[in-house]
């Protein structure tokens, strides 16, 4: 699966919000790619583009051997059986009038040729897989806890046995101990069902735990990409290093110095030429105003920076 795309969201002509700008990524079958960055970096926009919930302005999204951006509505709808999404807010994602069973059944009814009986069996199977149990099938969202609701969302996403699941901050709205359970569940499903995930999150410790590879985004572009352990142990881009240094380590004796980036993230409407981190980067040099090269600093580890 491969998606090079550029997406510009018209805001008020002629100014444009360059939400995602010339991003190329790939996710191999059975892999989990983490996409991290702070607000405004474009990761959620990119996630929605993969499902064409937002239409990319330019570029291609290749899934298996098909270019999704070239598909008509009907064909795209069929493809959605294979690509599903889990969103951040477990409550807002569930129809309050549908029972758990009805919610999980929806994608099966829409996308699969299974009979009602077969669908019922699949719903029960999936509810077991996510640790909810068939006993909760007749409950409604308001009768479930936050963690249970998110499990229903995950159940719904995997019910049609998709090849790719896009998860946009699936644990951010959950409490600390629930987070652990959902992450473990996602890990188990990955192993048991061979799921491929595009995992979007700002929670770097969760990303470290779950992802095989990680791409870091800043203001619409990918600044660094590497296997997970490599990224966390040897971050190369100044932005990645600054981001990691901001995460407090739960160890009072750990030596941790925060790498400060000056100012705040600039508006995605007026983007500086050259490197987008230029105005805030402590290492900035005159050359940073030039278009940024992408260099490989270690096997599979690429960085978009003049100075690395």
């Amino acid at each position: 699966m491969h998606f090079p795309l550029r997406s510009l969201i018209p805001w008020r002509a002629p100014r444009l919000v360059h939400a995602v700008d010339g991003v190329s990524l790939h996710v191999d079958a059975g892999e989990t790619l983490g996409l991290v960055g702070e607000s405004g970096c474009g990761k959620s926009t990119l996630a929605r583009c993969v499902l064409r919930l937002i239409e990319p302005t330019a570029g291609r999204i290749r899934f298996a051997d098909t270019d999704l951006t070239a598909l008509g509505d009907e064909d795209m709808r069929r493809r959605r059986r294979e690509i599903q999404m889990v969103f951040q807010d477990p409550t807002a994602s569930l129809n309050p009038r549908l029972s758990v069973a009805a919610t999980v059944d929806e994608p099966l009814a829409l996308h699969t040729p299974l009979t009602a009986q077969a669908r019922r069996a699949r719903v029960d199977e999936v509810l077991e897989e996510v640790g909810l149990g068939a006993g909760l099938r007749d409950r409604y969202p308001h009768q479930l806890s936050g963690g249970q609701r998110q499990r229903v969302n995950i159940a719904r996403a995997i019910a049609s046995r998709p090849r790719l699941v896009v998860l946009d901050e699936p644990t951010s709205a959950l409490d600390v101990s629930l987070r652990a359970r959902v992450i473990l569940l996602l890990g188990e499903l990955k192993r048991a069902l061979g799921m491929t995930y595009l995992f979007i999150s700002h929670d770097l410790s969760t990303v470290r735990y779950l992802c095989d590879r990680v791409a870091v985004m800043y203001l619409g572009v990918v600044v660094e990409e590497a296997p997970a352990r490599e990224l966390f142990d040897h971050p190369a881009h100044p932005y990645t290093r600054a981001l990691l240094s901001c995460i407090p380590i739960p160890d009072p004796d750990a030596v941790q110095e925060r790498l400060a980036l000056a100012g705040e993230v600039p508006s995605p409407v007026d983007i500086p030429a050259g490197c987008r981190l230029r105005g805030r980067c402590p290492l900035a040099q005159p050359v940073c105003a030039e278009p940024v090269p992408v260099r490989e600093v270690a096997p599979g580890h690429t960085v978009a920076c003049h100075l690395v």
Partner: protein, 320 residues
């Protein structure tokens, strides 16, 4: 050391249609002058209710059933509302979670600080404006004169929180209560806000009670930690001790359940679920999920000192 704030045996109930929610059960904590104390727990642990109880901001259906909140020698629960008003905002301030909704949307932010200063005698009316701008500058806001004239919706989330911190410290309080002050903020902004709190706290000598579920924040910022679970105080200790030798089974389980960004670890979620506060178990509320549970756990378990400054509410823990 005489604590600046000492909470003893605080019990708070909420009278709801479904029954009585026993939100806080015999909670205790202490904050020394100038200290940074972390109050840790998950949602439903009662930490926010405890903070509101300290400031006497609880309203029906909440009900303080029992307890003593000693601040600077006085029991806050015994004060009249009028007396409490001179404590709130002046001697004890609070910074809440969602800065934009905590700020008055129809007043420029500078004016909000000015009003606070005039009301609590921090400045004469003529000087309040200058002092408000100075506070904004100290809180790290660039172009403070311009920003003082702006409204909350014109400021970013991070900037709003800086305004909240400026407001909270403007009157030079002895104690600042910060309830999850970085929820919803980006990681880099969150780091800046926490550093701001710590630095201003040190500079003004204010003690800070920092309420959070994030153990990383606690480890980096706090001198001491109080852990709550389902409305009960289960452990309190100096920060190093809590992380190196956690005693209560809940604390240990909590530490084991968090993923780390600095190393590969096996994350273990806490088994079971947080008990319902409508019908909580008798005695220790962690007992139903605890692998060290025994018969005595259904009775009331007091906090017991097992080492200097280290108290645990658990019968299964050795020591003293």
């Amino acid at each position: 050391m005489t604590p600046l704030l000492a909470l003893e045996d605080l019990t708070v109930h909420f009278d709801t249609e479904d029954g009585v929610v026993q939100a806080v059960d015999g909670a205790a904590l202490a904050v020394g002058p100038g200290e940074v104390v972390g109050l840790v727990g998950e949602s439903g642990s009662g930490k926010s209710v405890t903070a509101l109880a300290i400031l006497r901001l609880l309203r029906p259906p909440a009900r303080v059933v029992s307890g003593r909140i000693r601040f600077d020698g006085r029991d806050l629960l015994a004060l009249s509302e009028e007396e409490m008003r001179s404590v709130r905002g002046a001697q004890i301030s609070m910074v809440f979670q969602s800065p934009r909704t905590s700020l008055n949307p129809v007043l420029p932010v500078g004016r909000q600080i000015e009003r606070l200063l005039v009301r609590h005698g921090g400045a004469a009316p003529g000087q309040a404006k200058a002092r408000a701008v100075a506070m904004l500058r100290e809180a790290g806001i660039a172009e403070p004169e311009r920003r003082a004239g702006q409204y909350a919706h014109q400021l970013s989330g991070g900037m709003c929180q800086r305004v909240m911190v400026a407001m909270a410290l403007a009157t030079n309080p002895r104690l600042l209560i910060a309830d999850e002050p970085t929820t919803g903020l980006d990681v880099s902004i969150a780091a800046q806000i926490l550093e701001l709190l710590r630095d201003l706290g040190r500079r003004t000598g204010a003690a800070i009670l920092l309420i959070t579920h994030d153990l990383g924040v606690v480890a980096r910022l706090c001198d001491r930690v109080v852990v709550m679970h389902a409305g009960q105080t289960v452990e309190w200790a100096p920060v190093r001790r809590l992380f190196h030798a956690p005693a209560h089974p809940y604390t240990r389980a909590l530490i084991r359940s968090i993923p780390r960004v600095d190393r590969e670890i096996a994350m273990e979620p806490i088994p079971g679920a947080v008990p319902s506060l409508l019908a909580p178990p008798h005695g220790c509320r962690f007992a139903p999920r605890c692998d060290l549970v025994r018969a005595e756990c259904t009775a009331h378990i007091p906090l017991r000192e097992i080492e200097a400054e280290h108290r645990v509410a658990c019968v299964a823990v050795e020591g003293r």
